[in-house]
């Protein structure tokens, strides 16, 4: 079946512009996660959606970052007023959660964001 998909695969933007990154999770997965992978910081958790519960936003690095998940499926990560330190690969993952809260997470291919 289809895995987690992300778009765009690459995004180059100018400093100060806003960007939106999209994630389509695996059908039926109720949990969705965003992570960031950068050279200096490794793999960092950003935000976690679980069903209809309030998202865990504890990993968002600043108030310029926000995410939403519409209809319990597709998610959009928005970065406002991008800075050069936002350059990274943004990874989305999804997992089954109900009845199997320790299920493994399946990752998408990522969006490589470059802020010039």
């Amino acid at each position: 079946g289809a895995g987690v998909s992300q778009s765009p695969s690459n995004k180059v933007t100018e400093k100060g512009k806003d960007v939106e990154l999209r994630c389509d999770p695996i059908s039926g997965h109720t949990a969705l996660y965003w992570y960031r992978q950068s050279l200096g910081q490794g793999l960092e958790f950003l935000i976690y959606f679980q069903g209809n519960s309030a998202p865990d936003k504890s990993g968002l690095p600043s108030d310029r970052f926000s995410a939403e998940r519409t209809g319990g499926s597709v998610s959009t990560l928005t970065i406002q007023r991008t800075q050069q330190e936002d350059s990274a690969v943004y990874l989305c993952a999804s997992s089954l959660a109900r009845g199997d809260r320790l299920a493994e997470q399946y990752f998408g291919p990522g969006t490589r964001l470059t802020v010039t």
Partner: protein
């Protein structure tokens, strides 16, 4: 706070030899541990997980990992390395739903 450490930035091994990629963890309560692999320009792929039970966990592509509670370790192993195993390996612990990753270890398998 929950954390994971991978003490080696890179591991080099000859094809056909056994390999070990080290991981230690620090958690409160029972650890839920995972290994993921990342091939160049690709997303992370799940290899295996330890939740409870047998300390030796078998996973994809012939990999296995040994959970050692007294040493707080979860080392990844394979009896005979392949050149195609060359990739970036991440150990992770699950905490409050999310994964906390180690810094990653690059495995280089030479022919």
């Amino acid at each position: 706070a929950q954390s994971v450490a991978q003490p080696e930035d890179q591991v080099n091994v000859a094809e056909g030899n056994p390999l070990t990629v080290k991981c230690t963890y620090s958690v409160s309560g029972n650890p839920y541990l995972f290994w993921y692999v990342q091939y160049p320009n690709r997303g992370l792929q799940f290899l295996l997980k330890y939740i409870t039970g047998d300390n030796l966990v078998k996973g994809s592509y012939g990999f296995e990992a040994e959970f050692n509670k007294s040493q707080t370790s979860f080392h990844l192993k394979k009896p005979s390395a392949l050149v195609s195993d060359s990739a970036l390996y991440f150990c992770a612990v699950r905490a409050a739903g999310k994964l906390i990753f180690g810094q990653g270890t690059t495995l280089q398998v030479k022919p």
